[in-house]
Symmetry: C2
Subunit: 377 residues, 2 copies
């Protein structure tokens, strides 16, 4: 019997990045996945097992129907569920203790514990190696950012082609709304092989709420934040890029805001290297804002200024480890992070500029590319 707890998952690989990372295979319904010694094991129904053989990175596949039959007899359960499948696997591999991710379903864990198995849910990352991206993973993120860039380019072109009528934007004779611009971006992402959900196209004060995706007509002479974080359909890896545009003529205040955000991004990028802390990178951006006189705080109950962290890890999830915030975690060589400082002032508008880099020993490698031209006539 092994004494080391075996890694155990029960999740859909569509929904769980850990499960997708482990199996390399898209499957819509939850499946049992197990790391038994050096063997990667999966249980699949007859509908999926053929595809799993061809497409997954697993070593050993069990037929769900066979295990169910065994579990029904062995445990006297009429309708065996995942807990009984896992008990059957535990018997086969002589396992009594499992390590599970924090989001492992409690209903299944409770049954396994009741059956005498030991279940340990770790804090932090289930596969810590996910934080350091391989070359193939960095390429997959760069591919995601190509889709982001295609979306942002499509947005820029739509804004350039738009005409200003009574303060509003018109494209091909129809009002250009956040919703229309979003579909234009999403279509460009699709053509680049990626699905972009919740694309942010927010103008004016809407953009001051960083998670507001934007709605209604877009106006001339206001800052428009375009944030595109698509998932590449083939791999499941994401891109994540933001540009801020303005159609018409910018005021000196808007120009200074955008220039300062750009400077803060450069400062943050300049602070990146392996073993430095996320906090140092974040502070570099924050300091740029402070020194330029941009204050952060609550005004009439609404937060304004630099109200979010400078970045986050990016990969199979849009938000993953490491943090690039006030936390003092150290950045590992190979980590892939976003660098996206922003400033938000209701009345003036919001600006965020975001790129993606891979951390190296003495700096970073850019994994995203798009122009920074923002004032569009």
């Amino acid at each position: 019997m092994s004494k080391q707890p075996a890694k155990l998952l029960y999740a859909s690989t569509e929904a769980s990045a850990d499960a997708l990372y482990f199996s390399g295979f898209f499957v819509p319904d939850p499946v049992v996945l197990l790391e038994a010694g050096r063997q990667k094991v999966g249980v699949f129904s007859r509908l999926e097992i053929g595809r799993a053989e061809k497409e997954s990175s697993l070593d050993l596949l069990y037929a769900y129907e066979d295990l169910i039959k065994y579990a029904r007899e062995a445990y006297g359960v009429k309708q065996p569920g995942p807990a009984e499948l896992i008990r059957a696997l535990a018997e086969d591999f002589g396992l009594t203790a499992f390590s599970v991710p924090g989001d492992f379903p409690h209903a299944v864990a409770a049954k396994l514990i009741a059956a005498g198995l030991k279940i340990e849910a770790g804090e932090g990352m289930f596969f810590p190696e996910r934080e350091k991206k391989t070359e193939a993973e960095a390429c997959a993120v760069a591919e995601g950012n190509k889709a982001s860039a295609a979306g942002i380019r499509a947005a820029e072109q739509a804004l350039r082609r738009s005409k200003i009528e009574r303060g509003y934007l018109k494209l091909d004779g129809k009002r250009l709304t956040s919703e229309r611009l979003r579909v234009i971006i999403q279509t460009a992402c699709l053509e680049a092989g990626a699905i972009a959900d919740h694309v942010i196209c927010a103008g004016g004060d809407q953009a001051c709420d960083p998670h507001c995706i934007g709605e209604g007509p877009l106006r001339a002479n206001e800052l428009i934040i375009v944030d595109v974080f698509p998932r590449v359909m083939k791999t499941g890896y994401h891109g994540d890029m933001t540009r801020t545009f303005l159609k018409g003529k910018a005021t000196p205040e808007q120009k200074r805001l955008v220039a300062t955000v750009h400077a803060a991004q450069k400062a943050a990028l300049g602070a990146i290297k392996a073993r430095t802390t996320g906090k140092l990178v974040h502070t570099a951006a924050a300091k740029t804002f402070e020194e330029a006189g941009y204050e952060t705080g609550q005004v009439d109950g609404v937060w304004q200024g630099f109200i979010h962290s400078t970045g986050h890890g990016l990969g199979l999830e849009v938000h993953e480890s490491p943090r690039v915030s006030t936390a003092t975690n150290r950045l590992k060589a190979g980590a892939v992070i976003t660098v996206e400082p922003g400033l938000y002032y209701p009345g003036l508008g919001g600006c965020r500029i975001e790129d993606v880099v891979q951390v190296t020993g003495d700096g970073y490698q850019l994994l995203s590319k798009a122009p920074y031209k923002w004032e569009l006539k």
Copy 2:
């Protein structure tokens, strides 16, 4: 103190249909949601709380930052997590027992149990009322199916416009592949307000694996299954429709296959009404196939024939309750289900026809609409 366990969730409303159902609000990171008596409570960060006030269906919002501050002092934890937030809420509402969904994260549950709280993970549905759709929900599914129909119509037009060259399809001078057809469908869905992931465009033997999404060039004279299950961006509800096409000329065997699948769908639809079992509906389709001489079973280790269930519930999830299979659950009035019999024979190809209905007292109401014309010259 309440004796009834209070419903508790900790999930992203993007990922958890239960959380979205409860809060009516999209939020990317996991949030604490609680049903305390008649009050629907949520904890949101300062980034989200403004949006939550405007957009959610919750009654009482807590500021994450305030609760964290309280939890840090009350429990002596340096970095309070969801378990500590929930303990703080439990104190406020005088709660000691919680009912959680089966997929509630075990790591959080284990901490709550260790802190002396009672956590019950139910079997089955967390919100059983989700199975019976309200009029608004049925409309939201119908909206999803409008997007599905737009995708299927776009596929049909692309196939009609294609030319046949040496057995392959060409559209606008370039080979029509599964991948290209998928983007055409996804674009049409987007324009209808919905995101369609994993659209199936599978021709020939690829279609005999019902979850294979299809890849590579599409051929003339072969059956092509197009299955589109988009999510409406505004509401999160899904459509789900399938049509099977053939570009060129069908053989008598292909014609008989398609006609039999269509007849099986009609038979299944004819069996639907409230209080009947899913099994009776499934059997109506299965019987049609048997009587027409289409056998189901393993041939050389590969399953063929009618190898999946007739349908499934549809709503905030693509697959949800109730089942329409060999299980003997009764269909409730108001349930929304797919009806999608299919036949799959390597060599001949696959055919599936899928529509969506809402179960009524004495029959059903169709929630999807698209033509059944399939042989395209």
